[in-house]
């Protein structure tokens, strides 16, 4: 084959290696473009779906590489959302809702991109701090510890009234996140997750996922590599939280607790927690399924009667699908594999 010789061979090799990322980005971009011609309602749902995609990819970055299920990533989403909200809201709005803010934060009115990055970075720093003791735990103990992170974040944000507004919602965030902002961050998140999983650190971490004792015996510093994955994952989760906050224009502590955790975890498990393809597949498939279920809950017009499923049936079905997947196809839809190069070598 001509591709095998010289420079073009290297290009083809690089293309083959990056193929999962290219293919996934192409699919997601295609969906977004299709949605941009649709009515505004569909555009908003797609935007929401892309934000969920960022959150699932963030969760995957830790879970997929370390093998430890994390229930704590929604806490980092909350960190990102609150940080960006405080930095980008108009000082006037802040003085109404949060009169007791420190002067520097009260006066801040950062550009949105700076706020987004700040949200991600603060989330990553928090992850570094809490991950340092917790990443020493193994397996299910670590998972439970991440659940504790979620509870602590919920308690702190729900009661730190002078900074977060406590149980009241924080309103008046610049609602700048549209389809294209969400798409850009979705592509960026997938790229970061993919580039990270190709690094040496991620490969060593995957070795520990398969057999922690053997990995340690081979001299791998499992705790350190786990912490790296945790921090990157928290950064991306923070971004997802920022996007969600500025998409809704409102931050409520209730929105960053068990229901969102359940949704994001269910998406990753159903798609397949072992590969980026699985994470993206889970987010896309569940988004479409949720849309279909929403239609069923609204109801269909049959003759003169409207047949509608009771509200909440969608959640039950989602939990049931998650259970069936874990029982009958534990590696999820993608089965732990990435999309492969479709052409012959």
């Amino acid at each position: 084959m001509a591709l095998e010789s010289g420079g073009s061979g290297r290009v083809a090799e690089a293309l083959r290696r990056a193929w999962p990322l290219i293919a996934l980005c192409a699919i997601v971009i295609a969906i977004a473009f299709a949605a941009s011609f649709a009515p505004a309602v569909v555009q908003r749902r797609t935007t929401q779906g892309l934000i969920n995609l960022v959150a699932v990819v963030a969760l995957y970055t830790f879970v997929g590489n370390s093998g430890i299920l994390s229930f704590g990533n929604v806490a980092f989403m909350a960190v990102g959302a609150y940080v960006s909200a405080l930095l980008t809201m108009k000082p006037g709005a802040k003085s109404i809702f949060l009169p007791d803010l420190p002067a520097i934060i009260a006066a801040a009115e950062w550009p949105t991109v700076a706020g987004t990055l700040a949200g991600g970075i603060v989330a990553a720093l928090v992850a570094l701090l809490v991950g340092w003791p917790l990443m020493r735990l193994t397996g299910v103990s670590a998972s439970i510890a991440t659940f504790a992170i979620l509870v602590v974040a919920y308690v702190v944000f729900g009661n730190w009234t002078s900074v977060t507004g406590g149980q009241n919602s924080l309103m008046g965030l610049p609602a700048y996140v549209d389809l294209w902002t969400a798409l850009a961050w979705a592509v960026a998140a997938m790229a970061i997750a993919f580039i990270y999983q190709e690094t040496r650190s991620a490969l060593l971490l995957r070795a520990s996922r398969e057999d922690e004792t053997a990995a340690q015996a081979a001299g791998i510093n499992v705790v350190a590599h786990r912490l790296i994955a945790f921090v990157i994952s928290a950064f991306l989760s923070g971004i997802a939280g920022v996007l969600l906050g500025h998409f809704l224009g409102i931050v409520r502590v209730e929105n960053f607790y068990l229901d969102l955790t359940f949704l994001i975890v269910a998406m990753l498990i159903i798609g397949g927690r072992g590969s980026l393809t699985g994470a993206v597949a889970g987010a896309v498939v569940i988004a479409m399924l949720t849309e279909a279920l929403r239609q069923i809950e609204i109801g269909f017009q049959v003759g003169h009667a409207t047949i509608a499923a009771p509200a909440g049936v969608g959640d039950v079905i989602l939990a049931l699908i998650m259970l069936l997947i874990i029982l009958f196809r534990p590696a999820g839809i993608a089965g732990g594999r990435e999309i492969t190069w479709p052409f012959r070598r």
Binding site: R136, T138, G139, S143, I144, E212, V316, M322
Partner: protein, 294 residues
């Protein structure tokens, strides 16, 4: 002086409630390496059973709640956990997470998510005077029930054949099977016991709070999980001790913290937990043979 004793009794009673919850989780972890999120739903559904049977004689209500919790524990084991018996602990964890949310969402679908008042055993809300100190009857009952259940469980594990089998299975499941321990029976008994513990916790919590709601079990279980982890996963005494410690600590913090920091008490408890884990990643009373040596 009186205030101090009241706080201590409160801490011990809430601590024993969490110890019972953590024990139910620890029993299952011992024989299956499963962290059972659905334990929370056993508690919740036992509480809704009390609500459904309200008005009937007390023994019927208690028996009904226990029966429903045991039945549900056995059904979840058969449907969601037995097929995964050879899977890794994370897969089991995900399965129990899915079961927990399935039951919770189903409950919300059927009865709604609003909390419902349930005036169960109001007589226990009375104050009694013990050695000149006024205490709530419920706290004394909670402590007594916990002691009785702990003693009964210890007797069962130490003095009966099935208990011996269960301890053997917790130590080394495969070896126990080779020596003739019947896996299905031991696991089923462990789930039934966890159902009884869940029903007991449920009754006590309902008396205390006077309400039932679909999330009540999960809230208890999350705290109890943390207890089992700091106690040392896989060790029953560790689970009970860890659960007790976390529950008691949250009450003591509630009493001792300045008022504007009280709302953060769970955060303080969990930070303390993180510090304990920093020093002892295997927990306070580690189980033997759980960690492979490098």
């Amino acid at each position: 002086m009186e205030r101090l004793v009241q706080i201590l009794v409160d801490a011990v009673s809430v601590g024993s409630l969490y110890a019972l919850t953590a024990l139910g989780i620890g029993l299952i972890f011992g024989v299956m390496r499963l962290i059972n999120f659905a334990h929370g739903e056993l508690i919740t559904i036992a509480a809704y059973t009390l609500l459904a049977l309200f008005g009937l004689p007390l023994p019927v209500m208690l028996f009904g709640a226990a029966a429903v919790a045991i039945l549900l524990a056995l059904v979840t084991e058969r449907v969601a956990f037995r097929p995964l018996r050879n899977a890794d602990p994370t897969t089991l964890l995900i399965s129990s997470f899915a079961v927990s949310f399935f039951l919770q969402k189903l409950l919300i679908l059927v009865v709604g998510s609003r909390l419902k008042g349930l005036d169960f055993l109001p007589v226990l809300g009375r104050q009694i005077e013990l050695a000149g100190i006024r205490l709530q009857l419920l706290q004394i009952v909670t402590i007594l029930v916990s002691i009785v259940l702990l003693a009964a469980l210890t007797w069962f594990l130490r003095a009966t054949r099935l208990g011996l089998h269960m301890r053997a299975a917790a130590e080394d499941f495969r070896m126990a099977r080779v020596l003739g321990v019947r896996a299905n029976r031991v696991i089923a008994v462990a789930f039934a016991l966890s159902g009884i513990l869940a029903a007991a916790v449920s009754c006590l919590v309902v008396v205390q709070t006077g309400v039932v709601q679909p999330r009540m079990g999960l809230q208890l279980v999350i705290i109890a999980f943390v207890g089992t982890v700091i106690g040392g996963l896989g060790s029953l005494s560790g689970a009970a001790f860890g659960g007790f410690l976390v529950g008691a600590a949250s009450i003591l913090l509630q009493a001792l913290l300045p008022p504007d920091l009280r709302a953060f008490r769970e955060a303080f408890v969990f930070i303390a937990v993180a510090l304990i884990l920093l020093l002892r990643p295997q927990g306070l009373i580690p189980a033997a043979g759980l960690k492979e040596r490098v």
